[in-house]
Amino acid sequence: MAYLALTPRRRPLVARYPSIAIFLGILALFTVGVTVLAEGFGIGLISTSFVKTLGKTLCLCLVALAMDLVWGYCGILSLGHMAFFGIGGYAIGMWLMYARTELIVIESLAAAPLPPTPQEISDGIATQIFGVVGASEFPPIWSVAHSLPLQLAAVVLVPGVLALVFGWLAFRSRVTGVYLSILTQAMTLALSLYLFQNDSGLRGNNGLSGLQNLPGLDAIPQSTISIVFFWASAFALGLGYLVCAWVVSGKFGSVIRAIRDDEARARFLGYSVEAYKLFIFTFTAVIAGIAGALYYPQAGIINPAEIAPIASIYLAVWVAIGGRGKLYGAVIGAAFVSLLSSWFTGGQAPDINLGVYTIQWVDWWTILLGLSFVAVTLFAPRGIGGLFDLIAERRSPDRHGAALGPDAGALREKEADA
């Protein structure tokens, strides 16, 4: 039959998209390379703190993947995904802080003549944790903090349920485009302002600290712990990349790209646009939560400033600079910009003396980042990931400046492949 020659046979995902194998290969090499060079199991060329920076960067790449799925593929410019990331961090941080404080309290009470009652232990932990905000009782939000499985469930469930409820309210009212962005930003701001309060139950602006110390594992040096977290982050990123590639490769990817470019048309084809958006919004919120739960034990501290809207805006900037609508673009953007950012703001970049004025990068980095964002948007909409498209000789379609669909999130001419 004639059509057999025309229709490509179904091959495995990795065979259809060579970029997946290339990405996983590079990630594996990178992981092995860092392991060999780090202090934990290797020759010690890389400091433990830099291993942590690299591990954190992998987590940022993972949340950038989530952002690319929701914005690059589905056209929803969410400015709230770093809030989900932060919630994941708080969820794991509560257990880390509780369990470690519990060990310290039990140890200090062991010297007493009578064995301590559970109430005494509980009070001791509460005083230790909440003394800084002038409280000595556990707020209800900490009721399952003693249980690692329950707090791990919270890493996934709290961002998921919040995204589900918020998304349901927003999408069913057909809020789209810039209005949706503003709404998500408002949610993020509200959450961050709430957490800043001392009586929020999460230690106000002090946040949660000491998260790098795993309870009961004090004997294991940070150099080892850091490399284990690095592995976990690399594994999560690799798995996340595979899952995201699977989601966007098939008909589902086709539907969400259709929604991005022209959602009214997708509706008239019988696709419930709201259900798809809700699915993607919730799914990516869960990924963001997991990424946050891996990030903050490496960072050691989380406070409400991490949830502020600016973090989510940075996330969008990374994805834009890396190249929207391509999974590897998001990863490249997040890795490149966040590493460069820590180089500039860490005081390692040499100041530039202009005679009349000295450019100090700690202050000027944000301006440089802003300018590069504008430059990328105007002159290289495919971002850094677009360099690979140059190698693969992918060109943009010639559409005389017209976007690929009528919606605000639609791919622009220069972002698309011909």
């Binding site: 025309l6 086709s254 470019d261 084809l269 696709y271 379609p397 690929l404 698309a416």
Partner: protein, 246 residues
């Protein structure tokens, strides 16, 4: 013959302007109907109401053997019921290939979880290839649809409409921007489709309407001015006055 779609007493106004005024319309399960009317007669609004994009202020829109009301349904639900629409300006997904566009339109379970698990089977590929042949896009199957010419995009959208396998097709100026030979082919496809389903064609071009050889409904100021064969309505005094301008 019972009606597949029954629109009765429907009115809608935008900022006081009555776009549709007490409109009544019926079409059978296997029938071709041409809807003509001057600009602003309410043709597009009429389609918007049936497909759920616009909610009318009053009236009923009943569908199918069980006469269920379409008014409380969402656009996607109505499309799933079997109402397909082709827009005047070709609206296809330009960032995706012709095959992807047709695959999107194929009649399948539309729920997110079903779509996530969906893997096209042999017969789905065959169906897509079949449709592509019908609309003359076999050679372009793996090209991005944004690269197609205007006429080819029109074809593709028609193909997507057929892929949905709807019971009612609403087609807005299907022959706009086509060569005479292409118009001929479009006519064939529509006439063929109308043997098994209901087809409503909105058209300006009287020649095209004549070739469809079907019952004609003339809209004017949001209501039906005349209905019958083309010769019958073109002989109507009122129609001549408002539309043919003679």
């Amino acid at each position: 013959m019972s009606a597949l779609l029954e629109v009765s007493g429907v009115s809608v106004s935008f900022d006081g302007f009555k776009a549709i005024n007490n409109l009544t319309f019926q079409i059978g399960a296997a029938e071709m109907r041409a809807v003509i009317g001057p600009n602003g007669a309410g043709k597009t609004t009429f389609m918007d109401i049936i497909t759920g994009k616009t909610k009318p202020d009053e009236g009923h829109v009943l569908w199918g053997e069980k006469s269920i009301s379409l008014l409380s349904m969402s656009e996607s639900r109505i499309a799933q019921e079997g109402i397909g629409r082709k827009f005047q300006r070709p609206t296809i997904f330009e960032d995706q290939t012709v095959a992807d566009n047709l695959m999107l339109a194929l009649k399948k379970n539309r729920s997110p979880l079903a779509v996530l698990r969906f893997r096209p089977r042999e017969e789905d590929h065959a169906k897509v290839a079949d449709l592509a042949e019908q609309i003359g896009l076999t050679a372009a199957l793996h090209r991005k649809s944004g690269e197609l010419s205007h006429g080819q995009k029109q074809w593709l959208e028609l193909g997507m409409l057929l892929a949905q396998d709807p019971r009612l097709l609403l087609v807005d100026e299907p022959a706009a921007g086509m060569t005479p030979a292409e118009r001929e082919h479009t006519t064939e496809i529509l006439v063929e489709a109308a043997k098994t389903r209901a087809v409503v064609v909105v058209e300006h071009d009287m020649e095209f309407v004549r070739r469809l050889n079907c019952k004609v409904t003339v809209l004017h100021e949001g209501s039906v001015l005349a209905e019958g064969s083309l010769d019958h309505v073109t002989a109507n005094e009122k129609v001549i006055e408002v539309y043919l301008g003679r």
